[in-house]
């Protein structure tokens, strides 16, 4: 069997192979004290020796003496902004002097992109966004074009944040499928596996060495350890019945007193798909563009119909978010809309914890 071990010193070869194959590489980098995804040209830009400290309402990074690139759990972004753009044009209307209208669809802006460092929860979220945006007959051309040109290099997690609970949702910490290549990071290098033909093509061009049984064992043990570290969990993988049976639970009032309705949770959530559409005049004044941008069920406008706001207060909005995310997603896409990434817990300014709220509301009425 050919080798599947990539020494750390050869990691740049992976970036170069992908670049030569025509991909723009995107990977995690430290920016303004957070790990974010951006164009990655050089291995030196990876967050080497950086770890994250996460807790409800808290996120911090600090230096460590660990030589690894991926020894942190996750940052505020998942794959979502790379595929479902925070804002983009859908079509443009040109109006001639005689009042005739011409509608022109925006050409999807889709550069072939290779993402390095995708986590298991991100892949699970991607499968859900695929189910939403690629469903016929309303397949979204912009999302689809980017998705078709995407190359995914997954990294199995070896270190969970205290906010992570992917083991309980069944989505991590090992990336099981949906990647082109996967990496297990060890101190000196990486175990590489291919998950697609394109991945195998790239792998064949890497300066790989033989991996030892000991390396494989260490990698597996670290992933298992990451799962064991997790303390949070949801009461069950399917809370649909329990949530809808508890629409009048007093906890909704309680959480509404804490929630600011700020929409941070929906914006960091890798599966949230809500967006609004609006027209904007073009800069030259000769037309109008129809744009969409991320929206949230926490905004006043989200449920507005003339004369009525269906969800006027925070209690109804938080209840909408939770009953949809953990409940009606089952009806729509055959599983919960939560992949256990914990972002909504970390990035909530007041530290509201989805696992705690779900347990308070459904805990005593369900069995795992």
């Amino acid at each position: 069997m050919p080798g599947n071990y990539l020494p750390r010193a050869s990691f740049q070869a992976l970036l170069e192979t992908l670049q030569q194959t025509g991909y723009r590489c995107v990977g995690p980098q430290l920016r303004d004290d957070a790990i974010v995804y951006d164009t990655l040209r050089h291995v030196g830009d990876l967050p080497r020796g950086i770890r994250d400290l996460q807790a409800p309402g808290q996120y911090r990074v600090e230096k460590s003496d660990c030589p690894r690139f991926f020894a942190w759990a996750n940052g505020p972004q998942a794959l979502k902004p790379l595929l479902f753009a925070p804002q983009e044009f859908l079509w443009k209307t040109e109006r001639a002097a005689d009042g005739r209208l011409r509608f022109v669809a925006a050409v999807p802006d889709a550069v072939p992109t290779a993402v390095i460092g995708v986590r298991a929860c991100d892949l699970a979220a991607l499968r859900l966004q695929d189910a939403h945006f690629l469903k016929d007959p309303s397949r979204d051309a912009h999302y689809a074009a980017r998705r078709e040109r995407l190359f995914l290099v997954a990294v199995h997690c070896t270190r969970s944040a205290p906010t992570c609970f992917c083991a309980s949702t069944g989505d991590g910490p090992r990336a099981e499928a949906g990647f082109d290549l996967s990496l297990s990071e060890l101190d000196d290098g990486f175990l590489v596996e291919a998950g697609s033909d394109t991945g195998r093509g790239v792998m064949a061009r890497l300066p790989l060495e033989a991996a030892s049984a000991g390396q494989t064992q260490t990698a597996d043990a670290e992933i298992a350890q990451a799962a064991k570290q997790q303390t949070r969990k949801l009461p069950s993988r399917n809370l649909q019945a329990a949530l809808f049976a508890n629409l009048d639970h007093p906890r909704w009032v309680d959480v509404a007193e804490r929630c600011l309705s700020c929409a941070n949770c929906t914006s960091v959530c890798p599966t949230c798909f809500c967006h609004s559409e609006a027209d904007q005049p073009t800069l030259d004044g000769a037309g109008s563009v129809h744009a969409r941008q991320w929206d949230s069920c926490f905004t006043q406008g989200h449920s507005y119909i003339h004369g009525v706001t269906i969800r006027a207060d925070t209690r109804l909005r938080y209840r909408q978010w939770l009953t949809h995310k953990l409940g009606s997603w089952h009806e729509q896409y055959g599983r919960s809309g939560c992949v256990g990434c914990g972002r909504c817990i970390t990035w909530c300014p007041v530290g509201i914890d989805i696992t705690e709220e779900a347990t308070a509301i459904c805990g005593d009425t369900t069995h795992v």
Binding site: T93, R100, F103, S138, D140, D279, H290, S303, I305
Partner: protein, 277 residues
């Protein structure tokens, strides 16, 4: 429909002012091939685009058999509808559609049809009434129950008078506030339900309007033995995309734009009365 996300240009062929705040636009796609290929079912809707302002969901009121034009009856309420009201014959707007699931008209054949509508200009049900009237022999009794706030709000009054003269057709209208020579009931729409002459076991009910009114109607009908799955409701929610992507129209797991807007009562029963969905 080629691209479900992109409007096509349509021209206003005729504009009718139905009341001070309600108007009808009779439209034709400017591309003849597109116009010829356009098909819809009563109860479906289009997204109407006003240049530079935005889009709104509006039901199609005309008959699917009318190949030359399609009609939208619109009430002026806000930004887009106010702007649409300013358009004149010959002006252009954008149309994409049709979207959603319409009324169960095939299933209703051979049965008594009960229409319940409240509020102003309840376009979705007018499409059903017109549809049944044109194919009168295929249906049993037709009962139209409509509630309006003020008698002057009733548009198409002569039509209702004409309909009430048709055999096997009963028109019951209630206005909270009446006017002189108002031939119908003064009071609440709920007072009319018990007068409806339909055979509960063979009735199909189709309703639209304020949800509070529909709740009372559903209770009444179930109380007199109409099966829950013989009740159909057209729902209204915020809509931006109309194709199941933007998330605005969701009621629990249902996307009103594509799973509805017409729902069979058992499909939405659990959340129908719940606040906030």
């Amino acid at each position: 429909m080629s691209d479900p996300h992109l409007p096509s240009e349509a021209e206003i062929v005729e504009r009718v002012q139905e009341s001070p705040t309600i108007f009808t636009l009779r439209l034709r796609f400017t591309d003849p091939a597109e116009h010829a290929a356009y098909r819809f079912a009563p109860g479906q809707f289009n997204m109407l685009y006003l240049y530079g302002v935005g889009e709104v969901p509006i039901s199609i009121v005309s008959d699917p058999g009318d190949e030359h034009l399609f009609d939208h009856t619109i009430r002026v309420v806000g930004r887009v509808t106010k702007g649409l009201a300013q358009l004149k014959t010959g002006d252009r707007l954008g149309i994409r559609g049709p979207y959603g699931r319409g009324w169960p008209l095939k299933e209703a054949e051979g049965r008594d049809v009960l229409i319940v509508t409240g509020g102003l200009g309840c376009a979705p049900t007018v499409s059903v009434i017109n549809y049944v009237m044109r194919r009168r022999e295929r249906f049993g009794q037709l009962v139209i129950i409509q509630g309006v706030k003020h008698a002057n709000d009733l548009i198409w009054r002569e039509q209702y008078e004409r309909w009430s003269a048709v055999k096997d057709t009963q028109v019951l209208i209630a206005a909270d506030v009446g006017v002189q020579l108002w031939p119908w009931h003064v009071g609440r729409i709920t007072e009319l339900f018990s007068m409806a002459q339909v055979e509960s076991s063979r009735a199909v009910a189709m309703m639209c309007g304020p949800e509070g009114m529909m709740e009372v109607a559903v209770d009444h009908l179930c109380g007199r033995g109409v099966a829950e799955n013989a009740i159909w409701l057209s729902m209204e929610r915020s809509m931006h995309c109309a194709v199941g992507l933007c998330g605005h129209c969701q009621v629990g797991g249902k996307f009103v734009c594509k799973d509805g807007p017409v729902f069979n009562y058992p499909e939405i029963k659990t959340l129908f009365r719940a606040e906030g969905f």
